[in-house]
């Protein structure tokens, strides 16, 4: 990796290992790097411990989504999904456990896969991407059992409501669609840009981030980041953040979101922006919280830079991992 390549690198996805001691990150060159958090967070950490312990090319195209199950790391790039065993990765072996492709209708351009989530109830993998459809794959057999069609433009983000077993998807067409995972039928469709409080026509109508917490839903993108009450299907608070948000999470009583602009925004449920913490990349694509491991409870963000910022105390940046 020469200095020019590093200058033009963007980090699109991150995932923590099941034990919580390792971080995998995917970039726009199709590479996945595995960092050792325990080494980077230990008291005698040096420059070398902020470099990846393993760096390999996983896909031809950018790795837009990474997901960790109990044993495997799933990566999505250029229309295919590959699985890598975490145990093998820690031992620095880069052989994929399996690679599968959902069936696409278009043949001219390969659609990318932007989001992946797991339905723990029936152990299935739900992916959404460039062909405007949501594909559901059974993890044990590897067969793609159903396709959810409804969006008119490509899908940016997915999330899953455990209690009602519903899938939420947000896309470029500005709609948030809610699907029932048992019957695979659409339940609701919310067009966020039609609501005046949220809409920002100067940016556009696409929805690029979704998050749910029991009855509440966060969504944002072209329209402002807003908190919705799902039972009443109406926005309760709108967050006055300047850029377009790409990822948002609920954490305890805070909402943390990243997007355009070199900062992580901390917001309260009421609609106020509590803090904006500065980071190294000039715009951020992904935010990840390591909640599985109490010793290494960190937040990491990555974006248009080859560096991934690590926050040990969520109020300020501690150090950066570098590809």
């Amino acid at each position: 990796m020469g200095p020019v390549e590093l200058l033009h690198m963007s980090v699109f996805s991150q995932s923590f290992s099941p034990c919580g001691r390792f971080l995998a990150a995917g970039n726009n060159y199709g590479e996945i790097a595995v960092f050792s958090l325990s080494a980077a967070l230990s008291p005698d950490a040096s420059q070398a411990s902020q470099k990846p312990i393993l760096n390999f090319t996983a896909h031809d195209g950018p790795v837009f989504s990474l997901l960790s199950t109990d044993t495997h790391l799933l990566s999505a790039g250029n229309g295919e999904i590959s699985a890598w065993s975490w145990a093998e990765l820690i031992k620095k072996s880069t052989k994929a456990a399996w690679t599968r492709k959902p069936s696409y209708e278009t043949s001219l351009e390969i659609p990318e896969i932007n989001a992946m989530i797991i339905n723990p109830k029936d152990n299935s993998l739900i992916v959404g991407g460039g062909d405007n459809n949501i594909h559901i794959m059974d993890m044990e057999t590897g067969i793609f059992k159903s396709v959810l069609k409804g969006h008119t433009d490509y899908i940016h983000c997915l999330c899953f409501k455990e209690r009602e077993e519903e899938i939420l998807s947000g896309g470029e067409d500005g709609a948030v669609r809610i699907w029932d995972s048992r019957t695979n039928r659409p339940v609701h469709c919310i067009e966020v840009f039609k609501y005046e409080e949220c809409a920002r026509p100067q940016f556009g109508k696409w929805i690029s981030c979704l998050a749910t917490d029991s009855d509440w839903m966060l969504c944002g993108g072209g329209p402002s980041l807003s908190l919705w009450h799902l039972r009443s299907m109406s926005p309760t608070s709108v967050f006055p953040l300047p850029g377009c948000q790409r990822e948002a999470v609920f954490y305890q009583d805070l909402i943390m979101s990243v997007g355009e602009g070199p900062h992580v925004s901390h917001c309260l449920h009421g609609g106020t922006v509590k803090a904006q913490i500065p980071c190294t990349p000039s715009s951020l694509n992904t935010l990840a919280l390591n909640l599985k491991n109490t010793e290494h409870r960190v937040m990491t963000v990555g974006g248009s830079s080859h560096q991934i910022d690590v926050f040990t105390n969520f109020s300020y940046r501690a150090f950066s991992l570098s590809f």
Binding site: P3, V4, E5, L6, L7, H8, S10, F12, G61, P62, F64, L108, E109, E112, N114, G130, Y154, H156, E172, P201, Q202, F203, G204, W206, S208, R246, E260, S282, S283, N285, S304
Partner: protein, 632 residues
């Protein structure tokens, strides 16, 4: 006197005796006188006995003394004898040891061994019947034999000397004969000059050059030999020649005593002058010392490299004697007139033409570490001040001259001298030619870029769509460009790089591109940084799509460099930049600021999807020959 003492005592005794019987005095006066007479008689007899005893004592004493004396004398004599004997013994012992240590000279002569002697010596000398028993005779015989041998050999030696003299004389005669031939040969050479020219075999010229080359300092000689060899073998376009003052060079190589005398004389003169002028010219003194240190050898080498299009790169190599380094100056002569491109004036500037021929070889500092100490003595802080005068001391120039300095990187090079020069010659010459061609091509491209024409050669047409609307102008560089900071932070912009600004315009949109061109273009790709002024200002740092455009132009060298020497790289990059701007502006129809109306830039490019991925990037990749745009 004892007799007197006795006499005196006596009367006392008498008186005492007489004292006591005082009552009897009157009556015994008569008895007293008889007694007194008796007593007097006894006294005298006692006196005489006393004297006799005294005398006897004396005599006895004397006798004893005499005896002692005699005995003593006897003992003394014996003692003397003993000592004499002892001395003699010692003396004899010394003599014996001296005799034993005596080494006769004959033992220092190396004699032949006994067996050899008996074998070689004739019978009358060896006399075996006598010598086998008697060691003394044997030694004598051996010495005789030695003497005879030596005499014989001395005679032989005299004869050989005489012969040698004769041969010496004969050689002298022949030499004289040969030297008399020399003028004759010269005449023949002169006469054959026209013949040589006719046949184009310039022996005369080469010989003259070889003659001058003898006076070259060693590094320049190595360079000349290797360059001429390379030129003959591989590259007919290379030619090397020597220029400079041969007489001065000859003067330099005179024996050192003369020069030392000169130095001491000049020193003395200097001192004299100093005392006269009261040291008013310390600065001038230092200046003179500096000039002396930086003196060039009077002879220099000129190497010409010709390119296919007729332009020539002239390299002048100089040798700095006291610093033991080579420097080079350049000159480019072209067949066409090159004035015109304003922003490209730097490209063929002789100061910077050969910068960084090998990575990080700037030629501003001397590569010889010992020079540091020499500079300290005369107060030179940086060699860079003198570089424009003396030429650039690039590391590859030292290697071509066979000079190897220990600071040359971590590799240990085992080659020295000619081997070092030969190993670098081919690569360096190729790099030099490549550099000249690249710069000339760049110069031409710049002249046409300044007229807003992007010259795309036929082989590269397939990289771009048929219609490109955006137009280009070159502008002078303004200071303090904010959107270039990231390049500075990454350490990719250096002093030696060429920096210029291009503006691509279409309608109301204006894209500024700051371009950094490394001196090693086209081995190193030029780096573009973008800033767009259209409905606000955005740069590659604030917007992901502009960043994607930057990576589209800055990377993908294999696609952009075109046919082999890769000289089309910069123009292809600029053309691609224009194409990307077209795509960006035409796909920006998503943005609606609420106002209806015709879009400023109608969609003309064919794209399948206008956004892809979480950052919604535009399709910048052009597919040939289908002619549509897709994402990477």
């Amino acid at each position: 006197m004892s007799s007197d003492a006795v006499k005196k005592r006596k009367p006392k005794v008498i008186r005492n005796e007489a004292g006591t019987p005082e009552t009897k005095r009157g009556r015994a006066e008569g008895e007293q006188s008889v007694e007194m007479e008796e007593r007097r008689r006894q006294c005298s007899v006692h006196f005489i006995t006393l004297k006799k005893l005294n005398r006897l004592a004396h005599m006895r004493l004397k006798k004893g003394r005499d005896q002692t004396h005699e005995a003593k004398q006897r003992v003394d004599v014996l003692h003397l004898q003993l000592q004499n004997l002892l001395y003699e013994v010692m003396h004899l012992q010394k003599e014996i040891s001296k005799c034993l240590e005596f080494k006769s000279q004959h033992e220092e002569i190396e004699l032949v061994s006994e067996e050899e002697f008996f074998q070689e010596a004739p019978a009358e000398i060896s006399r075996p019947h006598v010598t086998r028993d008697d060691h003394h005779q044997l030694t004598l015989a051996r010495l005789d034999w030695e003497l005879e041998q030596r005499k014989r050999l001395a005679e032989q030696y005299k004869m050989s000397l005489a012969r040698k003299e004769k041969i010496h004389k004969a050689i002298e005669q022949k030499r004289e004969y040969l030297s008399s031939l020399q003028p004759g040969l010269q005449n023949i050479m002169q006469a054959s000059l026209p013949v040589q020219e006719c046949l184009s075999m310039p022996f005369e010229q080469m010989q003259k050059q070889a003659e001058v080359a003898r006076h070259l300092p060693p590094p320049l000689y190595v360079l000349l030999v290797q360059a001429a060899a390379y030129g003959q073998a591989c590259d007919k376009t290379l030619s090397a020649s020597i220029s400079g003052d041969v007489d001065e060079a000859k003067a330099l190589s005179r024996p050192p005593e003369d020069s030392q005398d000169d130095e001491s004389d000049s020193d003395a003169e200097e001192e004299q002058q100093n005392t006269k002028r009261r040291r008013a010219s310390v600065g001038v003194q230092l200046d003179d010392k500096r000039k002396e240190m930086l003196r060039r050898h009077p002879l220099s080498l000129c190497v010409d490299l010709k390119c296919k299009d007729g332009s020539v790169l002239h390299l002048f190599f100089y040798y700095l004697m006291n610093l033991n380094i080579l420097t080079v100056k350049t000159k480019v002569s072209t067949t066409t007139d090159l004035s015109g491109a304003v922003s490209a004036g730097e490209l063929l500037n002789s100061e910077s033409l050969l910068n960084c021929l090998y990575a990080s070889d700037h030629g501003q500092e001397t590569p010889n570490p010992t020079n540091r100490y020499q500079f300290d003595k005369v107060g030179i802080t940086t060699f860079a001040d003198y570089v424009s005068d003396l030429g650039h001391p690039y590391v590859w120039v030292q290697k071509l001259g066979g000079l190897q300095f220990s600071s040359d990187g971590a590799q240990v090079c085992v080659l020295m001298g000619s081997a070092l020069s030969a190993s670098h010659m081919e690569r360096t010459m190729k790099l030099l030619q490549g550099r000249l061609q690249a710069r000339l091509a760049l110069h031409k491209q710049f002249s046409s870029l300044e007229h807003s024409i992007i010259p795309i050669s036929g082989e590269c047409q397939h990289l771009f769509p048929a219609k490109v609307v955006s137009g280009l102008t070159l502008v002078p560089v303004e200071q303090e460009l904010g959107f270039v900071q990231h390049v500075l932070k990454a350490g990719l912009l250096r002093e030696t790089d060429l920096f210029f600004m291009a503006v691509v315009e279409r309608g109301t949109a204006r894209l500024l591109a700051a371009v950094v061109v490394n001196p090693r273009y086209p081995e190193v790709m030029p780096l573009f940084s973008l800033s767009l002024h259209w409905k606000g200002e955005r740069s590659g740092r604030t917007e992901d799509n502009l960043r994607a455009m930057e990576s589209e132009v800055n990377m993908f060298r294999a696609e952009l460099q075109g046919p082999r020497p890769g000289l089309q790289l910069l123009t292809n990059q600029i053309q691609r930049l224009c194409v990307c701007l077209d795509v960006y502006l035409e796909t920006e129809s998503q943005v609606c600021d609420g106002s209806e109306g015709p879009k400023e830039f109608p969609r003309e490019k064919m794209c399948l999807r206008t956004a892809r991925g979480p950052s919604r990037l535009k399709p910048f990749k052009y597919n040939h020959p289908q002619g549509f745009f897709s994402h990477r």
